[in-house]
Symmetry: C2
Subunit: 139 residues, 2 copies
DNA sequence: CTAGGTGCAAACTCTTTGCAGCTGA
DNA sequence: TCAGCTGCAAAGAGTTTGCACCTAG
């Protein structure tokens, strides 16, 4: 059983995830990224470090890391998944409609309200997704 | 320029949307549905009323109705869009992880908090997506 | 040594599009 | 009438998979 949020090689190995050259390259890309890259971007960047990485391996590795709790999958725009390391505390996303920039934020109050609403409906929340889409306020 | 939330034939016609046999069938399906159907489901149900409806027309009509503000597109599970008529007030979704059921809810407090958070980050929200994924609380 | 990982290319799913004929207003 | 809509089939984008070879542990 995997505990949440493993991202060091040794933790992953302890989970039975074999650490290969390709997986190291992909982990490296995720650690360096601060832009929620797509599979395609991850492939391109991983290849800078290790030419041999293939598309199939990127997808398979992302699936493995997602299951291990190392990686989070986002579907901001409906056109392809975007990934991030699950190495910080939980946060939601604000997407800038003009630039595509993704800003992370966290609100304990919203989280609390979500739990309250779910409780009123007779549910326990397992996870949630909150995305705000907006534009910079004019000065 | 389309005003939000048109869903009667006359309103749509006034927007320049031609009302065809196929579009009537699709609108009928959307009015009867209470389960956020996929394009595939909409096609199957529309064909019960009008055999001639094609997949291409379903997708094209959904795009037209979405632009007219008649239809909302959801991407709950990453595997294909799910649609609903935009005929009620804004709401968010709670997805039952065991049954797949989609429960609609609305919280003015959460909406307000979202606007506050965006304002703090210097943004005006255009739209947002909030989905809660959970299971029924055991008795 | 060998269970599991890999590259390649083909397959798959969902959605969009080009085209020639049809039809609502 | 005729701009816009339609069905069909092919194309696209993003992702997954079968297979034979490779490699971490």
């Amino acid at each position: 059983m995997s505990s949440p949020t493993q991202y060091s090689e040794s933790e992953l190995r302890a989970e039975g995830v074999r650490i290969t050259r390709q997986r190291l390259a992909i982990l490296h890309v995720l650690r360096e990224a601060n832009d929620h890259p797509r599979a395609e971007d991850i492939l391109a960047r991983a290849r800078l470090q290790d030419q041999s990485v293939s598309q199939a391996t990127v997808y398979r590795t992302l699936a493995v890391l997602e299951k291990a709790g190392t990686v989070l999958r986002n579907e901001f725009d409906g056109t392809g998944a975007r990934f991030e390391l699950a190495d910080r505390t939980h946060h939601d996303h604000l997407i800038d409609l003009d630039t595509g920039a993704v800003i992370e934020f966290h609100s304990a109050r919203i989280e609390r309200l979500q739990a309250e609403i779910a409780a009123e409906l007779g549910y326990d929340i397992e996870w949630h997704r909150l995305e705000l889409y907006g534009r910079k306020t004019p000065d």
